[in-house]
């Protein structure tokens, strides 16, 4: 028997608003409320409201917190200022040991320092990898100086994305907080009161649109969500499920762990070199990454645009003149482009923009061409 599904504090809201609930990484989550296409387009045109509470939220605090993470993450942690966030990979051993692999990708952020002056940081990790990241990091804890906690079940995370997203959020804050949120640059964070509830606010997201992600206490999730939904509806905000989240991130050319990014990936080949800072650093796997950067090899991540709406799915074979040159890692109809698109890993000599390729979809080759990522860039 499988374990009962985990539920976010917004699960009842989803179920009572027509959410079509599915098992996603062990969580009961809405894939859509109505039409994925309409939810997707609402986010592009106005705003989308997403429950992303299934993602793992970990906290790291104490006088040695920065030094500890600096030795574990692929991005430099030592230079992060309070209120700043960075995209990083998490390398380490999977459960059972063995070689160091890429366990996940994550956002690491430094919050305001504690009252005693010691730093406080947070990590947001993928739901599918939370347990093994927690297990790996726990196994590396020093004897003293770091407090590490998994706060996933005590908190909720809500993403508000789209050209009207920041307006909707700031409309629920006092003047001072509204000004600070409105002035946040990408990958900057602040603490603010939203609809009367304390929220960590980050100018970030996974849709290719402007927007913020909010972390609130679990008990505040429903009132904050309801306030955002009510404030946003008049400007066209829609609650969005994981279906739209996936089509939005695909159009934005953003990788997803388990698809574009895997345990053995070469981050430089798949366009994630920005998630790795070498410079003589000593995180797990740094030597392998240094070698990969010095000697590029392996397949590279590209975008594919199709002539038809017939959609290639993960695993579809990519061919050139009958020879396999790659594999699709994610594919979908792209609502903003009204055509099918995909991301694929292909041989370097088949990766130039404009290269004509065939993708085998249900045994039938479909014409596609390599196109620069992202497919969609915000206006």
């Amino acid at each position: 028997m499988s374990q009962p599904l985990l539920e976010t504090p917004l699960c009842r809201w989803h179920e009572s608003h027509g959410g079509r609930m599915v098992d996603f990484a062990g969580w009961k989550m809405p894939v859509q409320y109505g039409s994925i296409v309409e939810e997707h387009l609402a986010t592009r045109r106005a705003a989308g409201l997403f429950d992303v509470s299934h993602m793992g939220r970990l906290t790291v605090a104490g006088p040695a917190a920065i030094d500890w993470l600096e030795g574990l993450l692929t991005r430099r942690v030592a230079g992060i200022e309070p209120g700043q966030a960075r995209y990083t990979l998490v390398t380490g051993q999977a459960p059972g040991g063995g070689d160091v692999v890429i366990l996940d990708d994550a956002i690491v952020a430094r919050d305001e320092d504690a009252a005693d002056g010691s730093p406080r940081l947070s990590l947001v990790v993928n739901a599918s990898n939370r347990e093994r990241v927690v297990g790996w990091l726990s196994s590396r804890l020093p004897a003293a100086g770091v407090r590490f906690a998994d706060r996933t079940f005590q908190t909720a995370m809500i993403a508000v994305q789209g050209p009207r997203a920041v307006d909707v959020v700031t409309g629920l804050a006092n003047a001072a907080d509204a000004e600070r949120i409105g002035g946040l640059r990408p990958y900057r964070t602040a603490v603010a009161s939203i609809a009367g509830h304390r929220a960590g606010v980050s100018r970030s997201g996974y849709t290719g649109e402007d927007g913020v992600e909010l972390v609130v206490d679990a008990a505040a999730a429903e009132p904050v969500w309801n306030a955002l939904h009510a404030a946003g509806r008049p400007v066209g905000l829609a609650a969005c499920g994981l279906g739209a989240r996936d089509t939005l991130r695909l159009e934005a050319g953003m990788p997803l762990y388990g698809h574009e990014l895997r345990e053995e990936s070469d981050p430089f080949a798949i366009g994630l070199g920005l998630g790795v800072t070498l410079d003589g650093r000593t995180f797990p796997g740094a030597e392998r990454f240094a070698d990969l950067r010095a000697h590029p090899r392996g397949r590279v991540r590209v975008g594919l645009a199709f002539d038809s709406k017939r959609t290639a799915r993960e695993g579809s074979s990519v061919r050139q003149g009958g020879r396999e040159v790659g594999t699709v890692t994610s594919g979908s109809f792209a609502p903003s482009l009204d055509r099918a698109v995909a991301m694929a890993l292909v041989d370097r000599d088949a990766s130039a923009p404009g290269t004509q390729l065939d993708v085998v979809v249900r045994e039938v080759p479909q014409a596609a061409h390599v196109t620069p990522l992202p497919f969609h860039r915000r206006a």
Binding site: G34, S35, V37, K309, R310, S332, F333, P335
Partner: protein, 128 residues
Amino acid sequence: MTAAMRFAKSHEWARPEGDGLVTVGISAYAVEALTDLVFMQLPEVGRRVKAGDSLGEIESVKAVSDVYAPISGEVVAVNAGLPGALETLGRDPYGDGWMVRIRPDSPAELDTLLDEVAYAALLKSQPH
């Protein structure tokens, strides 16, 4: 829907017409469950199918599904305009949203399908 309409458990409908042909489409439930239809492939006229064979494909944003022949026979007509107007399926799944007409090998095969009452009972047992 008419009283004579029959349904397959895989959510296709089949309706005998006065001319001896059987019109086939997919049910309103199937259209609603799929949502966001983006692509459809229909068979060629003249193709012979057995009940349960794939008649074509219908693809939504999330997934691709086969459409199965509810009865055996020869495809004698296809609704060629439908793949370019998939919204028709949501508006009129039992009328303008028809997919193919089949000349049945045995009209009695229709009796092996679900009638309207039995199909409604099947839907009640589906997860929502």
